[in-house]
Each structure stands twice: as structure tokens, then as C-alpha cells.
């Protein structure tokens, strides 16, 4: 018997759809504004991003130009953050360092998210693959991050790209673990079995149905990875294994300032402050996001 296809008033439907969409968006904005940590985190991150983008443009000094006469000058109207032991303008160096740190952090976050997602999803779905991939992850996680990153840098050589590779390799297992454990839970849900009974292929189940259900823990984890990547990059540069001199990064400015910490404390204070701000901002943002995205911790704001 043939079912009759009724013509539906399409205009009416799209109107309705828009209305519910607007309603949902309004609720989301409201919840965002009510969540103090995500709000503060966003403000800090926004400020840092604007700083990294525009600060190098407003300062007349090049981050690499040395003025021997002006070495280790305290902050002044000419040099806002003072100068370092080669007479280079510290404001300009910190601003350029912000670009480096944020770029490294963001690249690491994005790459670990993608690779960790693929590994975690497939590991959760195929048990043989699970055993192999998780043992590899165990092995990688057995090393302290900084040691593993230093070793990789030693092999690959000091290049900004290699810093990204080193930190990414150290952090992929963490993301893969989080993705795997969340998707193991989702995989056992009845709706996944129901989907199988409707003839959905594994590809479709993994990417279309498991993925959206684990996005929130992934996003939260990735903001933390972003923060950790900034710290790791700074640590590597501080140890001399990261961004190579003379290019500035928050880590190697700290390294330069280490010897003169009692004579020119501004060399330690300014980059250190920025590292703290960046990490604090990201962590607040991540915490807030976790509360926003987790349906169980929602305070009912209507």
C-alpha cells in the first residue's frame, strides 16, 4: 500500500524552525553571560589575542634590534617594559613572544584534538585496535612530558615547527584517552544499537552519532591542552630546547632574564605575567565551558 505524501506548507515550517533556533540562541547567550569563569576567561583570551595581533604594530622598536647603549633599562616611556641585556625592546619582544606562544598553543590544541579524536574514536569502536593504540599511548604517557619533548627536540633540531611536533606528540595520548573513555560510554547506549538495527554503517555511527556526543569533553580537554602547550613551550624555550634565539618567546625571554633577575627583574616579571595570564585565562575558560556544556551541572537558567 502506498503512503500518501502530503504537501507541507514549507514557509510555515521554516518560520517555526527559525523561532526555535532564536529561542535556543537567546538561552545560550544568557547562560554564557551568567557563567562567570567562562566570561572572565573569554575576556582574558580576547585581550591576549588582540595584544598578540596588534602590539607588534604599535611599537616602533624591532624585537631583534640591539641598542648597546640602552642595555637593561628599566621600564620608561620610550621602552614600556624596559630593555633586555642586549638593549632590545622588551615590550616588542613580549608582544612577538605572545604571537609565538599562542600560535604554538593553538596549533598543538588543534592537531592533538584531530589526531586524538581519530585514535580515540576508532580505539573505542574496534577492540583489537584499542589494545594496540592504548598500549602505544601508555608507553608515551609513561615519559614525563618535558623529557619526551626535550628528546624529540634533540632529534628534530630547534625549530618552531618542531616545538609544535614535540608538544603534540607528548599530548596526543591524553586527548585519545579522554575521547576513548567518553565514546566507550556512548557506544553502549541503546540508540547506537538502534542505529545498527536500522542499517547504519560503522563509519556513520562513529562520525555522525558518537562524535557529536563526545564533543563537549573533547572541547574542554583541548582548552586545557592549549594551556599546557603554552607552559611546555615556555619550559622548552627556557631550557634552550625550544624557540631558538634570537627569536623571542616568553620562555627564552625568561631564560635571558634569569642571570640578571636581581638587577633587571622586569625581564622576568613581564613574560612571566603573560604566561600566568594566558594559562589562567584558558583554565577559567575550560572550567566554564565544562559547566556550560555538561547538561548535569546546568543551573536552570531560563
Amino acid at each position: 500500500m502506498e503512503l500518501k505524501t502530503t504537501a507541507i506548507d514549507n514557509v510555515n515550517i521554516s518560520k517555526l524552525k527559525n523561532k526555535t533556533k532564536l529561542e535556543r540562541r537567546r538561552l545560550l547567550v544568557k547562560r554564557f553571560l551568567f557563567n562567570k569563569s567562562v566570561l572572565i576567561g573569554t575576556i582574558i583570551l580576547l585581550f591576549l589575542t588582540l595584544f598578540a595581533l596588534f602590539a607588534p604594530l604599535i611599537t616602533p622598536h624591532s624585537p631583534l634590534a640591539m641598542e648597546n647603549a640602552n642595555r637593561l633599562q628599566p621600564p620608561s616611556s620610550e621602552h614600556w617594559f624596559g630593555t633586555d641585556n642586549f638593549g632590545r625592546d622588551l615590550f616588542s619582544r613580549v608582544a612577538n613572544g605572545a604571537q609565538v606562544s599562542l600560535t604554538v598553543g593553538l596549533s598543538v590544541a588543534v592537531i592533538t584534538a584531530i589526531v586524538g579524536l581519530i585514535i580515540g574514536l576508532y580505539a573505542s569502536y574496534y577492540s583489537l585496535l584499542d589494545h594496540i593504540l592504548m598500549r602505544v599511548c601508555d608507553a608515551l604517557m609513561a615519559f614525563p612530558d618535558i623529557l619526551l619533548a626535550v628528546a624529540i627536540m634533540a632529534v628534530l633540531g630547534p625549530q618552531p615547527v618542531n616545538v609544535v611536533i614535540a608538544v603534540t606528540l607528548a599530548k596526543i595520548p591524553v586527548v585519545a584517552r579522554v575521547v576513548r573513555s567518553s565514546s566507550l560510554v556512548v557506544k553502549e547506549q541503546t540508540y547506537i544499537e538502534a542505529l545498527k538495527s536500522q542499517g547504519a554503517s560503522s563509519w556513520r555511527i562513529i562520525w555522525k552519532h558518537i562524535l557529536p556526543n563526545i564533543l563537549s569533553p573533547l572541547i574542554v580537554q583541548v582548552t586545557y591542552i592549549f594551556a599546557i602547550a603554552i607552559i611546555l613551550e615556555a619550559s622548552l624555550s627556557f631550557l634552550g630546547a625550544g624557540i631558538p634565539a634570537p627569536n623571542p618567546s616568553w620562555g627564552n625571554i625568561l631564560l635571558d632574564g634569569k642571570i640578571v633577575i636581581f638587577n633587571a627583574s622586569w625581564m622576568t616579571i613581564f613574560p612571566g605575567m603573560f604566561i600566568v595570564f594566558a594559562v589562567l585565562g584558558l583554565n577559567l575558560f575550560g572550567d566554564g565551558l565544562r559547566d556550560l556544556l555538561d547538561p548535569h551541572s546546568n543551573k536552570s537558567i531560563k
Binding site: L16, T190, Y191, A194, L195, S197, Q198, G199, K208
Partner: protein, 338 residues
């Protein structure tokens, strides 16, 4: 002769490998389903009803599962098909409705998206057509103003509604066989009646066969035309629904029927129970599997397993002492008439 059946399950055996050795969850189950017929599959928890259904759909993890026997669907043995071929059958030719409507829908998509997805995979339709089809299906299952509903998420609708959505999804490709695994257990009685009506109506309209898995004999009486009673992985009795309720021939079936609480029953009278519990599958009795709990059990029952025997037109039973039960039934019926 063989073609009149939509589905023939022939000596189906499903064996799981477990740490303590192989476990036979379904042991030589045989039954048939015709077009337009509702077959009830009843039994206690753990008797292999759901495993039988999942075997037909081949939903079990095949790494740990071994099948034996035949499942002929439209003349093709489902057990010999490849995984890719099964993908084309699941949801398209055979559909399944699950017990737990609350968790059978993906929370991150609207219900329209989810129904349309199945339609798009199997019928190669465009998105817009699929949506219109989804609206039609929802209307068919009796959901009011479906054009509004399809934009809602599963958490926004009630349990009965969700079960209707599941039915709409299962029927969206007009399957010829529907497997309903306890479709009404989680719902209250009024919704239950509505859902059963919906299934019954759609069965007529689409001329499909239905396997209704349930432990609720009220549901069986309401919708089924024929009933298969299972116990510990075996079919112990098969009969059309009237015969089963009027003259059950297996002591287990009889016990089940007696255990139903009567609405006009005596409040102080204890309900009939079947003593003992279903034995574990690791520890199957030697003779008749029901013998340890059976009030009719004899020496023979404990030592030798009975076979499924055809008694009269359309009634089969697996019991040594069915003649005694038959006699009792005749006497009972005689006394009630007097």
C-alpha cells in the same frame, strides 16, 4: 510451500564464547512468520527471546558469537550474508523497536533528522523528500502536529511519543518484518494500548510480519495471532493464541497463565508462582530443561530430554506428560460448562 513464509527460523543455535567456555543462549529454535501475522515470543527473563531477535538482525558481536542453523528471510539465509549485505537489510527489510524508548534516540539530533537519516540511507531520497516522508510517518503513528515535532529534540517529548518516533523510524522504509522487543514495557497502560493499536494498524496497512517479544501475556492476547513460548533457549510450546490460552499443554505455559493476577481476584489469596528460578545457561539440566521446577515431572523427565512434538493442528509442545495436561484441560473445560 516454503515461500509462503516471510521468515523461517530453522534450528537456530546461538553460542557465545565466554571466559568459562561456550554458552548456548539459543538452542535449536524453530519457528516461522507469515506476512501479516503477529507472532508472540514469550518467556521469562533470560530465556533467549532477545538473543533470538538479535540473531535474526545479526546484531551480536560476531567475534564472540557463533551461529548455527538457518534464518531464511524471503528465501535468503541471513546467516550466510556478508556484513555489507546485512546493512541493506537492517532498517530496510527488517526493522526493530527496542524496549527502552527513553534511550533509543540520539540526544544530539532532532527527531526529524534521525528519521530522515534512515530514509536517506535506504531509499536514496533527497533531504527535503525524506523530511516530508518523516512527517508522514509520524502522522501515521498518531503524533499530533508532526511538522512541529520534527524540530524537537528527544528530551523535549514524552516517553510514549519517543516510542512512536522509534516506530515511525523503524517503519519508515516499509520493512516486511518488524521485530518489537518489549515495545511497551516501559510505558504506562494507556500509552501501551495506543502503541499496540498503532503496530496493529500499520501491520494491516503494510502487510508486514511482526515478531512481538514480550513477557506480558496481556499484550500477547491483545495483538498476537500465534505464540511461541521459550524456556532456557528452547521453544517449549507453539500454538495459535486462542489454543494457547484455552488449553496450554506445557506445564510451564500453564504456570505462566496461572501467574497472571486477576483483576477480580481475592486480595488475600497468594498469586500462583512457578517455584525456583531459570537455571543458569552454564548449568543446563540433563533431561527436560523445565523438569527441576515442574510439578508434573517424572523419572523420565529428569533423564531424557523431550522433543518438540506436533500435537494437533498448529500446536507443538516439548513435554513427556502433555497427555495428562490435555486430560485435565478437557475435564476443566467440562466442569466450567456444567
Amino acid at each position: 510451500m516454503g515461500n509462503q513464509y516471510l521468515l523461517e527460523v530453522n534450528e537456530l543455535k546461538t553460542v557465545f564464547s565466554s571466559e568459562s567456555g561456550p554458552v548456548t543462549a539459543v538452542d535449536g529454535v524453530t519457528f516461522n512468520v507469515k506476512h501479516g501475522e503477529v507472532l508472540g515470543l514469550v518467556g521469562e527473563s533470560g530465556c533467549g527471546k532477545s538473543v533470538t531477535a538479535e540473531s535474526i538482525m545479526r546484531l551480536l558481536n560476531e567475534k564472540h558469537t557463533k551461529y548455527d542453523g538457518e534464518i531464511n528471510f524471503n528465501g535468503r539465509n541471513l546467516l550466510s550474508l556478508t556484513n555489507e549485505e546485512m546493512l541493506g537489510i537492517r532498517g530496510n527489510k527488517i526493522s526493530m523497536i527496542f524496549q527502552d524508548a527513553m534511550t533509543s534516540l540520539n540526544p544530539v539530533y532532532t527527531i526529524g533528522d534521525q528519521i530522515a537519516e534512515t530514509i536517506m540511507i535506504h531509499q536514496k531520497m533527497k533531504k527535503k523528500e525524506a523530511y516530508n516522508k518523516a512527517i508522514d510517518m509520524l502522522k501515521l503513528t498518531g503524533i499530533p502536529s508532526p511538522e512541529k515535532r520534527i524540530h524537537e529534540y528527544p528530551h523535549e517529548i514524552s516517553g510514549g511519543m519517543r516510542q512512536r518516533v522509534m516506530i515511525a523510524m523503524a517503519l519508515s522504509c516499509k520493512p516486511s518484518l518488524l521485530i518489537a522487543d518489549e515495545p511497551t514495557t516501559a510505558l504506562d497502560v494507556t500509552i501501551q494500548a495506543q502503541i499496540l493499536d498503532v503496530i496493529n494498524e500499520l501491520k494491516e496497512e503494510l502487510n508486514m510480519g511482526v515478531i512481538m517479544i514480550t513477557h506480558d501475556l496481556g499484550v500477547v492476547a491483545e495483538v498476537c495471532t500465534r505464540v511461541v513460548v521459550m524456556y532456557l533457549g528452547q521453544v517449549i510450546e507453539e500454538a495459535d493464541v486462542d489454543t494457547l490460552f484455552s488449553s496450554p499443554l506445557h506445564p510451564y505455559t500453564k504456570g505462566l497463565l496461572k501467574s497472571i493476577p486477576k483483576i477480580d481476584g481475592d486480595r488475600n489469596k497468594k498469586l500462583h508462582t512457578i517455584n525456583g528460578v531459570v537455571p543458569s545457561l552454564n548449568n543446563i539440566p540433563n533431561g527436560c530443561r523445565f523438569a527441576p521446577r515442574c510439578t508434573y515431572a517424572t523419572e523420565e523427565c529428569l533423564n531424557e530430554a523431550p522433543l518438540l512434538q506436533v500435537i494437533k493442528d498448529n500446536q507443538k509442545v516439548r513435554c513427556w506428560n502433555y497427555r495428562q495436561l490435555l486430560k485435565e484441560e478437557v475435564q476443566n473445560n467440562a466442569t466450567t460448562i456444567i
